[in-house]
């Protein structure tokens, strides 16, 4: 399972880096989405996740065994919310830049020293 996860993380990371470096704002937004998913999968792998694990809900009477570590999913939930919010903000700013400068290519924007 961890080999599969590692491969998925690697592919997602590679695709994300490619998209973030490409000269188009929309591709950058998609790249950031992939990057956060790659990182979230890495987080799942870090909890030692396998398909044999049970969901971590415990009744007092039952014996606790073979449960999944609940902390990584917990962290991922928070991370998804944060990445969603910041990603949405980035998308809006990218749109405003496109509206104001008439280009979605970051390389074609005027240099910062002229813009200030």
């Amino acid at each position: 399972m961890s080999v599969l996860l590692a491969l998925a993380v690697g592919v997602l990371f590679g695709a994300a880096v490619y998209l973030i470096l490409s000269p188009h704002l929309v591709r950058m937004v998609i790249g950031f989405g992939l990057l956060s998913n790659a990182v979230n999968l890495a987080m799942i792998a870090s909890g030692g996740f396998t398909l044999r694990h049970e969901a971590p809900f415990v009744d007092d009477s039952q014996v606790v065994a073979n449960l999944m570590d609940p902390l990584p999913p917990d962290i991922i939930l928070t991370a998804i919310v944060i990445n969603f919010a910041v990603g949405a903000l980035f998308l809006i700013v990218a749109y405003v830049v496109y509206r104001d400068f008439g280009t979605a290519n970051p390389d074609k924007l005027p240099p910062p020293s002229d813009a200030t």
Binding site: I20, L25, M28, F32, L35, S36, A38, V39, N40, A42, M43, A45, S46, G47, G48, L71, P72, I75, T78, A79, I82, N83, A85, V86, G87, L89, F90, V93, A94, V96, V97, D100, F101, P106, L109, P110, P112, S113, A115, T116
Partner: protein, 509 residues
Amino acid sequence: MNSLALVLVIPFASAVVLGLLHGRPRLERAVNLASCLGLTAFVFWLLAYVDAHGIQTTMIAGYQAPFGIALVADRLSCLMLCLSMAVGSIALVVSLSTVTADQERSFFHPLFQVLLLGVNWAFVTGDLFNLFVAYEVMLVGSYGLMMVGAGRAQVRQGLMYIAINLVGGSLFIFGLALLYALVGTLNMADIAQRTAELAGPRAAAVTAVSMVLLIVFALKAAAFPLFFWLPDSYPIVPTGVNGYFAGLLTKVGVYSLLRVFVMTFRQDGQELVLEILLVLSGFTMLLGVLGALCQWDIRRVLSWHIISQVGYMVMGIGLAANAGMARVAVAATVFYVTHHIIVKSSLFMLAGVAEGLTGSSQLKRMGGVVGLAPGTAALFLIAAFSLAGMPPFSGFLSKVLLMRVGLADDQWVIVAIAVATSFFTLLSMLKIWSYAYWGKAPLGAPFAGWRLATAPAAVLVLATVVLGLWAQPLLRYADAAADEVTRPQAYIEAVLGPRQTARAAGEAP
């Protein structure tokens, strides 16, 4: 002590209330100022309390550490909180005379409280994942303030600032995932306790993983080679708030480096990271100041100086690699951080006033501030000399402390770079002085509110003079804070409780 949560609850509640008060600027100003001043008073009380009674902790919702979220106030955290709130209040007072109605309509006041929330959170958390959340809250606040009532330039730079920080945030979680897989906890006290027992390949793996966090914190602190985003972003922040940005935001990165690499990671071979930091600090200092020398915009000059000053603080952290010197090195760093936050914030605020008086931020189009407002000019001169390290101001003392540690550790190269950087800093400050302050004033209507905007910065300038002449209280405090950071037994006991620590000690052979 449950009142510790107030440092987060007050800014959060204020942000919500200020959001609801949108459209009533006078009320917003009053609430924002009252909240800032109230919290400032509280954190100064907290500092005195922690200094007298030891480390205070709060477990959110009552879950025990390391499972629950721990808020921890030790001496270092308290000092940073005090600096954050004091500079925040002063920046707000300056902003009240410079902020435009348009910026206030664009939620200036709630965003300011969100920024304070994020920064305070980063200083008070005892958990690495919470540090990530604090970073993101802080970034949302700073994106917002950077683009409040924004023109084209702000939006263009804001985009790059968000992009760079999105990458940083993702790397942060990635590093945490690897760390969790290796150590099994993200609570700083717990990590400190568990990594202290590590040796061999597992310790080497933890050191390797900590490099990912090194990239994240170095990006935040704007250390070499990850400083390129800073000189383009900071100049666009509105005057007043930019004093807070300049003083506090990169220092959150420096604080994280100190907290995580000196206190939290204690495995065998951890000194390697600090030695890398020492090398990076040399480049940061020198390249930062050389960058400043070739700029012609007062805000960009000062932004490049932030980078070179961060180099000094990172140098202090790097010198902690030698275990025998760790305590003095950290104490010197804490002193330097205090000095730097005060001086850098005041320089940015005073530069904003000079800009308002002359109507430009381009050095070649400025001039004559000495004639227009001699008081402002004198304050700038004191702050500039303090930044360059001239006696009798706090800059002199903080540089002497750092270099003394460097010489005692036989690190001649880094000390030589530090001296050269200090010389170039003076040169660059003289350039600002001769172009912006001397000469003939350009024609035009001078900025009416300059007296109101200068007075708060004067408080900061006074602080650098006092710290230079009467440094003993802060030196003693910095030394005690360094002791807590370099020998974290008290911190671990305060967070995990004596029961857990005793059990761990009992298990040891």
